[in-house]
């Protein structure tokens, strides 16, 4: 295959952004720019679906690999995908058009700039999931900060400046240590090519420190307790679309990084630090669920629930079992869909009533029946009801956890109950109950474009909830391969000690 399909996938949104940048709109409303952006992102989505179609699901190798000389002599621009990354690429290309459709509801000023920021963001996000070189990965991983900083800062709410700074500096601080680790890896092994590093392996004595350096970056991005505090701020202040991008895709970069790099490159250190990750994940699950229960702001509640859900993800990854890791990947995809949907749902009522406080709402079911239905699906998806994607992810993760550590699994199961509690309570307070607030009476039910975006999210949540096979098929071989390599390294290490 000579056609550089991954590079086109990465570059297409940027080309679209440049096109929007250099075209002038006479009306000043930039509606045409929006159609351009929508067209580009949909084209990218179709391209990624085609990629999934031609992708060989039984192979464990990286496919569609492109390897070009870049930094002369030592670092190559190398991209490629396996069964794990392709799902994240599709998630990205799927969420972006939804964001672009939802834009006109929330963004009133500087629409053109906003579209450019989203498209550039898409380039960086796809790049993160495709890159097979540590430096290239770092480049994309960090570059995403720039558009996101602007999205929160320009189009955000009242405390946007504080939130944007907090988001940027937290993430940057976590990441610089990863840069030190990446450069160290280069000098230790002579390459930053991920495939070669899988083969070469990194000597055991270096692994712990390198693992910690990567962990500092991924933990902030995941986010894990106690460095999760930027997330609620960023979510609350970001515009709806920004929250969607942040929750659905940005948080997944870290989970993906854990599987690809922490497990793949530092198996021995991963084994050493398993307990640390378990404990932090459990705190994230239980503590942030309790915090979520007490929130008065809808977006904040969902933000804390994201932290709890990502706690499940990290827990699942570090069970190092087939079920656990598959469950984590599934949970990430599921959370990508569900949290995007929840933030859009909050956006729907926020746009009509201009408040996110839960106690200002109530009894919406009588005036917005359609909204009540889709919101219910998303609520159930978030709490992991069987038949939604959320269930499969959590179920597999808990299976994996029970296999490794019963106590951890039991505590994590408590989190499922708490998750049900805060989500159902939110739903009850917003949608059911009496309508005390007379101003709510004027609220209209869903508009056409909202029906399009929300039902586009309902369908995969239910479809993959009942029939997860297509996703599972895609990741199975790659996860198995990752685990095999992992166990192989561990056994080798034990053997060398004896």
């Amino acid at each position: 295959m000579n056609f550089p399909i991954l590079s086109s996938l990465i570059l297409l949104p940027t080309i679209g952004a440049l096109f929007i940048l250099f075209t002038k709109s006479s009306s000043g409303k930039y509606q045409s720019s929006k159609y351009v952006a929508l067209f580009i992102s949909l084209a990218n989505f179709l391209l990624s679906l085609y990629l999934w179609h031609v992708f060989d699901k039984n192979s464990v190798d990286f496919q569609f690999v492109e390897n070009r000389e870049w930094l002369s002599g030592f670092i190559n621009y190398k991209v490629g995908i396996d069964g794990i990354s392709i799902l994240f690429v599709i998630l990205t290309t799927f969420i972006t058009p939804i964001c672009i459709i939802s834009v006109n509801a929330t963004i009133t000023n500087r629409l053109k700039d906003f579209l450019i920021a989203i498209l550039i963001m898409e380039t960086f996000m796809i790049g993160v999931f495709c890159s097979l070189d540590l430096v290239v990965f770092y480049l994309f991983f960090e570059a995403g900060l720039i558009p996101m900083f602007l999205i929160i800062g320009i189009w955000g709410g009242e405390r946007r400046v504080y939130s944007a700074f907090k988001f940027f500096l937290y993430t940057l601080l976590g990441s610089v240590l990863m840069l030190v680790a990446i450069i160290s890896i280069y000098w230790i092994t002579g390459t930053t090519d991920v495939e070669k590093l899988y083969e070469l392996g990194i000597r055991a004595e270096y692994q712990n420190l390198l693992w910690l350096a990567f962990f500092s970056s991924f933990a902030v991005k995941t986010p894990m307790w106690p460095v999760h505090t930027w997330l609620p701020d960023a979510h609350v202040e970001a515009p709806t679309v920004g929250s969607v991008l942040l929750a659905a895709i940005l948080l997944k970069m870290a989970g993906y990084g854990f599987i690809r790099f922490s497990l793949g490159l530092f198996p021995i250190a991963s084994e050493n630090f398993t307990m640390l990750v378990y404990i932090l994940s459990l705190i994230a699950i239980i503590y942030t669920s309790l915090v979520a229960l007490m929130q008065e702001d809808m977006k904040k509640l969902i933000a804390y629930s994201s932290v709890a859900h990502m706690g499940f993800v990290t827990l699942g990854i570090f069970t190092m079992t087939q079920q656990g890791i598959e469950g984590s990947i599934f949970q990430m995809i599921s959370h990508g869909l569900v949290s995007a949907a929840l933030f859009l749902s909050v956006g729907v009522v926020y746009e009509r009533h201009h408040t996110r406080l839960i106690n200002k709402y109530g009894g919406l079911v009588s005036i917005m029946p359609r909204y009540a239905i889709v919101f219910m699906v998303f609520t159930l998806g978030a709490l992991g009801l069987p038949g939604t994607t959320g269930f499969i992810g959590e179920f597999l993760i808990l299976m994996g956890a029970f296999e490794k550590n019963i106590l951890v699994a039991m505590i994590a199961s408590l989190g499922v109950i708490l998750g049900a509690a805060y989500m159902l309570w939110l739903f009850k307070r917003v949608v059911f109950g009496e309508m005390n607030n007379q101003e709510l009476k004027g609220m209209k039910d869903l508009k056409t474009f909202e029906i399009i975006t929300l039902s586009a999210l309902v369908i995969p949540i239910l479809f993959f909830g009942f029939y997860p096979e297509p996703l599972m098929n895609s990741i199975e071989a790659s996860v198995e391969n990752t685990l095999n390599m992992y166990n192989f390294d561990l056994i080798n290490n034990l053997a060398s000690k004896d």
Binding site: G73, V135, F165, V180, I183, W187
Partner: protein, 471 residues
């Protein structure tokens, strides 16, 4: 004189300076003419240097003058940035009534001094070059003589610079006394054994050089001089003397004192760490953009020195790459600064940028790119500059230096973000003029595109620089 052709650039520029002086004296109102002629002569100078740059190492004048890959590369970026400095500042000096014949001539003589510094292979030749550039710079700093701040900055620069020159000279004399030669190569041969005299010599020379490069703890002049000087001179200060001083740094550390690296390595590491931290922290509270960029340049010099501290070719090359990218970022930043003009008045406070993005999207976008690049965020050029430096630093297992440096970038990111916040998030103010001279626009466009598109072909500079090997 069969080697006459190799020194042709220096001779050409000296002759031009004298010629322009004569023209200035005999022809009335010739300021504009001389300005343009100087610019042309800089272009010719650049071609002359490029013309001889393919040659190998050549010693001239009894081995006191050296033309090699390092000096050629440094002279090319020096003169190249000199051309852009002249281009961007041409309108500015007219508006604030500084368009006098002395201005371009002083710039040319300063460049001549720097070229001599860069090529010197002898303590005396080096000192001559240094003083030639410094004398021109004293006058340039106080060129706006009706302005109190400008006069103050000139005087301040003069007093502190004279002090540091004194220290430097003392260091030179000690070195000469103990190694019995003023020739760099000869000093290297004669100073194989440790002795206190040469060590003291090194310390004094490093102090003098650190002053020229405005590294902590010899940075005190920089904020005042940057703020007080006319902006076009500040731009000159921010780039050209740094190139020359860094080049001399490399030369001193790796030619005469190459055997003493265990003596000077700690000093360089200390200066580097102190500059990175101080430059980042002190910039946070600044209100004036020129003052802020002064602190920012202090921290950037810290990163450039970090590369030198490694005692490896990789490190030297990374420092040179760093300064090359740094000068482009500064050109872009100051071009933006020159565009903040309204009714013949230039604005230079951070608040003046408030809400700039609404009326001036292109200018704001350029500033955004430059500031993120200065902060070292990928995929912009500034990231690669830092990346090369840390690559070299970590190769030598100097993890402490690397981690401190990277943490300092996080602190530095804060104040760059603060400017971006003011440009993009804050309410807008009055509009600025939108008509600018062509040179300014071209400079801004070229430098912004360079920063933005650097990642597409990052090997370009690296390949040229990789020819420069000192060890």
């Amino acid at each position: 004189m069969e080697n006459f052709q190799y020194i042709l650039p220096e001779i050409f520029i000296s002759v031009s300076i004298m010629l322009f002086l004569l023209v200035g004296v005999f022809k009335k109102n010739s300021a504009n003419l001389i300005y343009n002629l100087s610019n042309i002569s800089l272009v010719i100078l650049l071609t002359l240097i490029i013309n001889i740059s393919s040659l190998d190492t050549i010693y001239l004048f009894n081995e006191s003058y050296l033309i090699d890959n390092l000096s050629n590369y440094m002279k090319i970026i020096l003169v190249g940035s000199g051309i852009f400095v002249m281009l961007t500042g041409s309108k500015y000096i007219q508006v604030i009534n500084l368009n006098k014949i002395e201005y371009p001539i002083l710039i040319l003589s300063s460049i001549l001094g720097m070229m001599i510094m860069i090529s010197s292979n002898d303590l005396i030749v080096f000192y001559m070059g240094l003083e030639l550039q410094s004398l021109a710079l004293y006058v340039l700093a106080s060129f706006n003589r009706d302005n109190l701040l400008s006069t103050e900055s000139g005087l301040k620069y003069f007093v502190l610079s004279a002090l540091s020159s004194g220290l430097l000279l003392y260091g030179c004399s000690l070195t000469y006394g103990f190694s019995e030669s003023t020739n760099f190569d000869q000093i290297l041969v004669n100073s194989t054994e440790f002795n206190y005299g040469t060590t003291f010599g090194i310390v004094f020379i490093l102090v003098g050089l650190a002053f020229k490069i405005s590294a902590v703890p010899f940075h005190m002049w920089a904020p005042d001089v940057y703020q007080g000087s006319p902006t076009s001179v500040t731009l000159f200060f921010a780039i050209l003397p740094k190139i020359a001083a860094l080049s001399v740094f490399i030369k001193f550390l790796y030619t005469p004192f190459a055997n003493m690296n265990d003596q000077w390595q700690t000093i360089i590491v200390f200066i580097s760490i102190a500059s990175m931290i101080f430059g980042s922290v002190a910039a946070i509270g600044q209100k004036n953009l020129k003052r802020l960029i002064a602190y920012s340049s202090i921290s950037h010099m810290g990163y450039a020195l970090a590369g030198l501290a490694t005692v490896s070719n990789q490190g030297i090359q990374s420092s040179i790459t760093y300064i090359s990218i740094y000068l482009v970022m500064n050109l872009a930043f100051f071009s933006c600064l020159f565009m903040l003009k309204r009714n013949d008045q230039y604005y230079e406070n951070i608040e003046d940028l408030s809400g700039l993005s609404k009326k001036h999207p292109v200018l704001s976008f350029s500033l955004l790119i430059v500031l993120f690049s200065l902060a070292g965020i990928p995929p912009l050029a500034g990231f690669f500059a830092k990346f090369y430096v840390f690559l070299a630093v970590i190769e030598q297992s100097m993890y402490f230096l690397a981690i401190v440096g990277l943490l300092a970038t996080v602190v530095a990111a804060f104040y760059y973000l603060r400017i971006i916040k003011i440009i993009y998030f804050d309410p807008e103010k009055e509009e600025y003029e939108t008509s600018h001279n062509l040179g300014l626009k071209i400079t801004l466009a070229i430098s912004t595109i360079f920063i933005l598109a650097y990642f597409i072909y990052p090997s370009g500079i690296t390949e040229i620089v990789s020819k420069i090997t000192m060890i």
